[in-house]
Symmetry: C2
Subunit: 227 residues, 2 copies
């Protein structure tokens, strides 16, 4: 489902260049559960943004479901993002002026789902992450871990075929993290592809495959043996 | 240095009330190193905001260095915050339009330190967290863990006598987390009081005392034995 060939990403800052990705090659098939780890600044989020069609590489190819993403129009990319991909951002990216419920409903509006269906699915997603009692709170009326869970619920509500989650448990206590990982595992058992970035070994153990980034490239890519 | 007596915090949302803190009593002495843990939504950040004089309790008393904070003027609170307390926010709270260096320098401006001193201390703090090469990056040109480290550097640069850190390693890989905890430990050895919120047991083990929150109150408060 995902194939990247020699992906690079270079940011230009004046006459200084920052190479965030230095040639990333990976194949991920439908139904896989991949955990990505690596030092702070090693390129994980940059790579996730490319996988999620939110950013384009400087060079190299990204082929998603057999289609080269570089050849997609803006509209085709937006369509794939709203229908096929659920993205949990490292910084949550919630809209500050709307409630948790409205934040979770938002991506479904691009799918053209009717109001009562969006409402029902959003409540179901908030219930799954333990937040139905906070559905009417705005992000600044929620704790850090609650905001993170709203971001997770938002990625689940569209029933995507692939979930890209960037540090989804970074602000959660162990018990809540275990509940969230159980959700991801259940979705993966149903055939949904999951790629998640984490810096915790305990979380990476839930995945079936572990990939390690360093200085913008993959230095390790192996199956998880104990599971 | 810190004494709280029956602190409560209630948020009113229409005719519904959310009790974030339900009677928190704690004494913390100068030079202590306290780790606060507890489930998502249990009141940790709300409590930290009160300790940092950023928010007031609904009832109860907060006595900081023998002075009841409720009787301080706005200016006296701002003075204490800029001179005595270094705060690392769970959401970083960096200014998006200025560089890492300027973000770190900002609290020192309230201390009236001259420009070259602020500049030197800010670079020193960024060096301590491994980010001197990124001093001119704005927050959106930094990775999640780099933003977190800028927030930490900002709290250190004013040379405070107390550091309040809300999940300072939530976005950091293990190696970087260990480096950050070494900094906190070194500062604590110099006599600086540290209160840090974490949801990771490994991180809590660096502290000398562990406090656990549940449903807005402290349910456990004990010394760390293995150290
Ligand atoms: N402005 C607000 N209005 C209403 N409720 C609020 C507001 N701010 C926080 N809360 C609620 O207060 C409770 C405690 O929040 P707090 O941020 O202190 O939790 P926390 O322990 O830091 O959680 P986390 O580990 O997720 O960061 C939460 O249930 C939250 O929904
Ligand atoms: N817009 C930008 N301009 C310049 N440099 C950037 C920009 N965005 C990211 N970078 C740099 O690219 C590198 C990789 O960033 P990325 O966010 O992918 O790291 P990461 O592996 O997700 O780190 P973390 O674990 O801290 O979240 C970092 O060194 C960062 O400073
Ligand atoms: Mg990242
Ligand atoms: Mg919090």
């Amino acid at each position: 489902i995902i194939k990247t060939v020699d992906i690079t990403k270079v940011y230009g800052m004046g006459d200084i260049q920052v190479a965030a990705l230095n040639g990333v090659n990976i194949d991920i098939h439908q139904g896989e559960f991949v955990a990505i780890m690596g030092a702070s600044g090693s390129g994980k989020s940059t790579f996730m943004n490319i996988l999620g069609c939110l950013d384009a590489p400087t060079s190299g190819d990204y082929i998603l479901e057999s289609i080269p993403v570089a050849r997609m129009t803006k509209n085709e990319k937006a369509k794939i993002r709203s229908q096929k991909i659920g993205f949990v951002f490292q910084g949550f990216n919630l809209l500050s002026r709307t409630s948790a419920l409205e934040n979770v409903e938002l991506p479904m509006m691009y799918q053209g789902l009717p109001g009562h269906v969006r409402h029902e699915r959003a409540l179901e997603a908030l219930r799954a992450v333990g937040l139905e009692k906070r559905y009417d709170h705005k992000p600044n009326e929620l704790s850090g871990g609650q905001q993170q869970r709203v971001a997770i619920a938002r990625a689940l509500a569209t029933h995507p075929s692939m979930i890209l989650a960037d540090e989804p448990t970074g602000n959660l206590d162990s018990k809540t993290s275990i509940e969230i990982m159980a959700i991801f595992q259940r979705l993966n058992d149903q055939g949904i592809t999951i790629v998640l970035v984490t810096h915790e070994n305990d979380i990476a153990q839930y995945a079936k495959r572990n990939v390690v980034f360093r200085d913008g490239r993959i230095i390790k890519d192996m199956m998880v043996t104990t599971r």
